[in-house]
Symmetry: C2
Subunit: 101 residues, 2 copies
DNA sequence: AAAACCAATCGTATATTTGCGATAAAAAAT
DNA sequence: ATTTTTTATCGCAAATATACGATTGGTTTT
């Protein structure tokens, strides 16, 4: 990508909102989050059964949700239990609320 | 991209939410929408002055926002006046509200 | 009719995203 | 100690996104 010489600096809220939106920009990730909201928590393997996707692909989506801060993984060897990260979830919620008035 | 043989079908709301989120997934587009919320409307040229981006790049972002249905352009020759598409804006708003509980 | 203005589109380059299979790592079960 | 289970990561391929300059198309002004 031919980039602008200087990186554009946006307000912190703008950047944060865009980052959360990006995490939500794929239907699989929306579906994963909806699933987590219902189940409260789940394991990677559960999701692999729910979605017709390779294990590595599901893992990749979980990683992005984790990077965005929307979920967190708790080690329950040999599994990993994923839950909504309530703190950041609330931050995202209020950013979107604020944005839409 | 090596795709699954059959395209995954998600619920309509899930697809719609992901589509809106995608439109919001770039800080420039967030900033454009915030600008439109303040000004109620504006012209492409105004935005080119506000953002340190090429005219074609701004136009590209406007196109994506238009495709997502979040804005609409009204011909005011020789300019084009862009406004929030209030109907779809409200749909997006309620989808995000619903999603975050 | 010609020149000027505004915005979309085209063509191109590069970066990022998405997806898969294969492999690795870490713990549990045998 | 070996095997099994579970999940992350690597390497690759293809699609999509981002950005720019140049060009095009439409309208207004001269």
């Amino acid at each position: 990508m031919k980039r602008s010489l200087e990186h554009i600096e946006y307000k912190e809220d703008t950047e944060a909102l865009a980052k959360f939106a990006k995490a939500l920009s794929h239907p699989t990730r929306i579906a994963i989050l909806k699933h987590l909201e219902n189940q409260s928590c789940c394991f990677t393997g559960d999701l692999v059964d729910v979605f017709p996707l390779a294990q590595s692909t599901v893992s990749q989506h979980l990683k992005e949700l984790k990077n965005a801060g929307l979920i967190q993984g708790e080690l329950k060897p040999p599994k990993i239990k994923y839950c909504i990260n309530q703190e950041n979830w609330n931050i995202a919620k209020s950013l979107f609320q604020q944005f839409f008035d």
